[in-house]
Subunit: 206 residues, 2 copies
């Protein structure tokens, strides 16, 4: 019964919001199976362990988010305007989550990094790959802005890493205060980190 | 036996590194008592719950860290030089922890914010108070730098919050990559966030 073809998808679909909201250690396999409506035997048919499930959840979540980031960051408009849109969409996404579950759950990748990355190497490696991919996507936009004379940075990759760090830090505050407006600071801070002139960026972001 | 006068201190001393390293949900009261060398009955004599212990650990950890921050941020030298020293001491502290336990465990306040702040109101409130106190301490230094013409910021509190956000973001990367050198970027990023001129700050930080 449980090993029907959609049991794996049911488990993943149930685990994703649970991990996002409550983290990894607080969750048990039995609770995930109950939420998914599948027997526990099914779980171990599809996943070797809770860690294997977490890796699959990370992969699936990043696949969706990478698509969103690519659409925004490789879309039309001036490079810095696209970064601004990324911040706005991130804030809108957190707000939608807050409206549906009553609380800002933050960034699943940041959450699991601080909860787990020093404890399990497979999860650490996967999170490193995800953050490297994020930094690389931002780096391309930063380099493009620099080449257009709209940003002044020495090392575009380091600048991109600092922008992602600022994003994670402000998402941490948004979660702490259950208030997504902490992300409002991102755009101005990004301009500062890129030594971008406000007048230039005002025109490119319009 | 267990309810001797130092059992509470033993529990706190054992819980602090365990929570810092592995978080809250992954730990059980039995494990904490075993590490502390006290019977479980003792635990509930001193602490109503694991949450009550976590609050006490947060208080004790912040009391020590607040002392360090005050010594550095209210110490001698130009204001921005003191901020730089804070970053350097934070990095040195993370490095010392890494050398003793093999892994960068990050910032306990950041860790518990992302693991727990959306799940328990008492811990959320305590973490808010701690981060507000951090932001306030940085704000005073930023305002002092601004008054000396060494930083250009509109809202010193918002600038301070962005500096603390940047700190938390880079500590997240330090934990993810088990490499404290991610904190090296803090000083340059801080100057950018404060629109501080490098030439000014080079002289004040010497």
């Amino acid at each position: 019964m449980g090993r029907t073809s959609d049991a794996r998808e049911k488990i993943l679909a149930a685990a994703q919001p649970l991990i996002e909201l409550r983290g990894y250690s607080a969750l048990g396999v039995a609770e995930i199976c109950k939420a998914a409506g599948v027997p526990k035997g099914s779980f171990y048919y599809f996943f070797e362990s809770k860690e294997a499930l977490a890796l699959a959840v990370l992969d699936e979540h990043w696949e969706a988010q990478r698509g969103d980031w690519a659409r925004v960051l490789r879309g039309g408009g001036a490079p810095l305007a696209r970064l601004r849109r990324l911040f706005e969409e991130t804030e809108a996404g957190l707000r939608a989550g807050q409206q549906s579950c009553g609380t800002v759950s933050g960034c699943m990748f940041g959450n699991l990094t601080l909860e787990l990355s020093n404890q399990t190497e497979p999860i650490r490696e996967r999170l490193q790959q995800i953050f490297e991919a994020q930094v690389e996507m931002v780096e391309k936009v930063v380099a493009e802005a620099r080449d257009r004379g709209e940003a002044t940075v020495g090392d575009a990759r380091e600048a991109a890493r600092s922008i992602v760090a600022q994003l994670e830090g402000q998402v941490l505050f948004a979660k702490l205060y259950n208030d997504t407006r902490h992300l409002d600071a991102l755009w101005e801070n990004c301009l500062s980190l890129l030594s971008a002139r406000r007048t230039d960026t005002a025109s490119v972001s319009s």
